[in-house]
């Protein structure tokens, strides 16, 4: 059985826990519950006929109250970098975290997820900013933990990258 460790990285309240819950348990809660500490889940998914067990490290959001410990990335095969499409500041935070991750743990595959795509009217990250992300040769996906759009695809795409 192939196992791959994945970390969830992003600012607080971008929906990291919600994405994991949607992916693992297919559930979603509208109430924001902040993550304190680390929670680890597992999910087996099939990629081109092969079972891959994903060990999902749902890390707390990095902010002034809790700083990310980069030791959690030990053994990680990839990470989901998450921003909230309705809060532009979380994009800046994600860019900062990506830079720090590169310095601390080297070049690890990741997928950039712009979460909360269901809130189109409140969307703050314009197409120009999104295009800039893509111009860095990053995989950028819009997703919604609320309705499930793009969630499976994000984890699948990351798994593909990790398996290469």
């Amino acid at each position: 059985m192939i196992q791959k460790k994945i970390c969830m990285l992003g600012a607080f309240a971008v929906g990291k826990t919600s994405l994991v819950r949607r992916f693992v348990e297919s559930i979603f809660s509208d109430t924001y519950q902040t993550t304190v500490g680390v929670k680890i889940d597992k999910k087996v998914m099939q990629l081109e006929g092969t079972d891959v067990t994903l060990i999902l490290w749902d890390l707390y959001g990095d902010d002034d109250f809790q700083r990310i410990r980069w030791s959690y990335f030990k053994g990680a095969a990839g990470y989901l970098l998450v921003a909230d499409g309705t809060r532009k500041a979380t994009l800046e935070k994600a860019l900062d975290l990506e830079e720090r991750a590169r310095k601390e743990v080297g070049a690890v595959p990741f997928v950039f997820v712009l979460n909360k795509s269901d809130l189109a009217e409140e969307w703050e990250i314009d197409s120009e900013a999104e295009a800039k992300l893509r111009s860095r040769q990053w995989t950028v996906l819009r997703a919604s933990a609320k309705n499930g759009d793009g969630v499976e695809e994000a984890f699948m795409e990351l798994t593909r990258k990790m398996m290469r």
Binding site: T34, D63, A89
Partner: protein
């Protein structure tokens, strides 16, 4: 002797596991049920536990723990909290500590449930507050954008009306028509004033600008403002059979200069007086009273009305949309504006019921300190200002590029500018403006800020990047966003001047240098009186740096434009058209200032004030005296200009050389 630490830790609820090597751990303490449930252990599990298989988190932590144990350091190595889920679905927070005692490598585990819940609650509250703060900021930002859009849209039709009135005034209109025009002009000005008030009250940009000192003028005099408002509102009070009194200590030594800005101080007085008028019964008095101490100047407005509602605290009376008990006010903005403005200047405002009858509304403002005065004097007015200096040697006519997407504005402004002798190329957007500027060099480019295809700011940037010889001398922004921060923003973006729309064409004319020449800012905005030195022509010559040709052109412009203005002033005084009188007198005041015509300047200023106050008691007599002074000035300039012309003949070639700039065609 065994260490007392294990016993101590057990009593604290820690589970102790000894690292036996090969990744296996053995219990040093009884197995707690919660751990059995989490790791699916039997109650009497005596074999070594492969912890890394039980908990991926501990697998990760053991790397740090191994390093700690290998270092043989004292103390301990502590993990962060992680959460594991029991077979019943319960989430259990856990914490691990690596330590050593009695030569053993020990892992102590515990579940800090109460502390963890407390921490979660704390962080939840903090992050919720941050999210709410972000949400409010976004909301405020959206509302400000919406407000600016609304203000802009409301201003646009006024632009059309204003320019249309300008044009119609120049047509042959019957006396009745002129009266209707004045009425229309007055209504337009009133609506513009209301729009500005709304913007002032709501715009956080304005609040930000008010947070500092208003530097648009020297320290204002509260007594002068009180007199101005008293004079302008007395007739309104009289019409309701209410006497408006001004009660000021008779002491010439008192200093009434305060922190603030005179037009807004007058607005504060007006709002308080309107409020008093609303609640005053006929046959009563309203009194404006001023007093002064070492630090503040205080103003009171006393009425003899019913007094304040008992259940309404003063703070609420000055809050947003407060309308008083009877709802006698309008939108509930007036007193809110007063409080906002007074407090921004470091003052205070409140109200109280008087002992017998009536109420008192009062405010106090800090006296202007010498430092502030010095700072204020150093600062130039922001309206239609440029700090880079104006086009100092300007002659008419000019080649002007006008970019505005509104057909009416474009058509009418073009018409007006052409009537003034300028040659105008009108275009409908920034892109066309840029292309025109690339083909031809213009003296002045007027750019509307909001245009399709390419906006004013982008067009400005593109034009500024043209080769130096193609860049126009002045680029002026026409904007519907006419708050001070907006003007400052546009200036900072690189516009030489900023004109808020709707604008009066006479203002634009002055800005373009039509009759003010060297320093349009000062002439248009400054109240600095002229100094009588030398002849009128030498004064103007001095102002334009000895450029005789330009000085003669200014004289010619003055001689051409002044007679209709004098006539207009006389008509406005006769027809009691305050706004027209103030506007024409203001324009003339600027013109005569450059010739050092002290008396004419004084009469113009008094007429301007009379027009603003709608006080026509002396207007006709002042207009007559002004006409006489102007006649003297015209006679002097005609004669002097003639002498200069002959004298200048010998210097013509020099003058031509000095004017080696682009040729201006009409």
């Amino acid at each position: 002797m065994d260490s007392p630490l294990p016993q101590f830790l057990r009593e604290l609820g820690f589970v102790l596991l000894e690292h036996r090597g090969d990744g296996l751990f053995a219990f040093l303490s009884p197995q707690p049920a919660w751990l059995n449930s989490l790791w699916n252990l039997s109650a009497d599990f005596h074999q070594g536990i492969a912890i890394t298989e039980k908990s991926p988190f501990l697998e990760n932590f053991l790397v740090e723990a191994d390093a700690f144990w290998a270092s043989h350091q004292n103390g301990l190595c502590e993990s962060e909290t992680w959460i594991e889920t029991s077979d019943t679905g319960k989430e259990v927070p856990l914490k691990a500590i690596a330590l050593q005692f009695d030569g053993k490598r020990v892992l102590a585990l515990h579940s800090p449930e109460p502390q963890f819940r407390e921490r979660v609650q704390l962080l939840q509250t903090a992050r919720n507050a941050l999210l709410e703060h972000e949400r409010l900021q976004r909301e405020i930002q959206k509302k400000e954008i919406l407000l600016h859009c609304i203000i802009h849209d409301l201003s646009q039709p006024l632009s059309v009306m204003s320019v249309a009135f300008d044009s119609m005034e120049e047509e042959s209109v019957s006396e009745r028509g002129k009266g209707l025009l004045a009425l229309g002009r007055k209504a337009t000005d009133q609506q513009l004033s209301m729009i500005r008030d709304i913007l002032q009250v709501f715009s956080s940009d304005l609040k930000a600008s008010l947070a500092g000192m208003d530097t648009s003028e020297a320290a204002p005099n509260l007594l002068v403002s009180a007199r101005t408002v008293h004079a302008s509102m007395s007739s309104v009070f009289a019409s309701k059979n209410i006497q408006l009194r001004l009660d000021v200590p008779d002491d010439a030594r008192l200093n009434w200069q305060v922190r603030g800005e005179s037009s807004r101080i007058e607005r504060i007085f007006s709002n308080l007086l309107e409020n008093a008028l609303r609640y005053s019964p006929p046959e009563s008095q309203v009194t404006i009273r001023l007093s002064s101490d070492s630090e503040y100047v205080r103003a009171e407005v006393d009425d003899e009305g019913p007094g304040l509602p008992k259940d309404l605290p003063p703070s609420q009376i000055f809050s947003l949309f407060s309308k008083g008990k009877e709802g006698g006010g309008k939108a509930g903005l007036g007193l809110y504006f007063c409080r906002l403005t007074v407090e921004r200047w470091g003052g205070s405002i409140s109200c109280e019921s008087l002992p017998t009858k009536g109420s008192r509304f009062w405010f106090r403002l800090p006296k202007a300190s010498a430092v502030e005065k010095a700072r204020t004097e150093k600062t130039k007015p922001i309206t239609a200002v440029n700090d880079k200096g104006s086009p100092k040697k300007k002659s008419h006519p000019m080649r002007i590029l006008l970019a505005d997407d509104q057909d009416e504005i474009r058509l009418l402004t073009t018409n007006q500018l052409e009537r003034s002798g300028h040659s105008v190329l009108p275009v409908a957007n920034g892109k066309e403006a840029f292309e025109a500027a690339r083909r031809e060099r213009f003296d002045v480019v007027l750019l509307d800020e909001d245009m399709p295809v390419l906006g004013g700011l982008q067009a400005l940037k593109a034009i500024r990047e043209l080769p130096k010889e193609s860049v126009p001398k002045s680029i002026i922004a026409l904007t519907g966003y006419n708050s001070e921060p907006d003007r400052a923003r546009l200036q900072a973006a690189g516009f030489d001047f900023v004109i808020g729309k709707p604008f009066r064409l006479d203002m634009l004319e002055r800005l373009l240098g039509g009759d003010t020449g060297a320093e349009p800012n000062k002439i248009a905005e400054s109240a600095e009186p002229p100094k009588a030195q030398g002849s009128p022509f030498s004064n103007v010559l001095d102002r334009v740096g000895g450029d005789e040709k330009l000085a003669r052109q200014m004289v010619a412009t003055f001689l051409r434009d002044t007679p209709p203005r004098i006539k207009g002033i006389a008509n406005a005084a006769q027809q009691k058209n305050g706004s027209s009188l103030a506007s024409l007198a203001h324009a003339l005041k600027g013109s005569v200032a450059i010739f050092g015509a002290v008396e004419a300047h004084e009469f113009s200023e008094r007429l301007q004030e009379a027009g603003r106050r709608n006080d026509f008691g002396e207007a006709a007599s002042l207009a007559k005296q002004l006409e006489e002074e102007i006649a003297k000035l015209e006679a002097n300039l005609r004669g002097y200009a003639g002498r200069e012309r002959s004298r200048a003949t010998g210097t013509r070639s020099k003058t031509k050389r000095r004017h080696s700039g682009p040729k201006r065609s009409s």
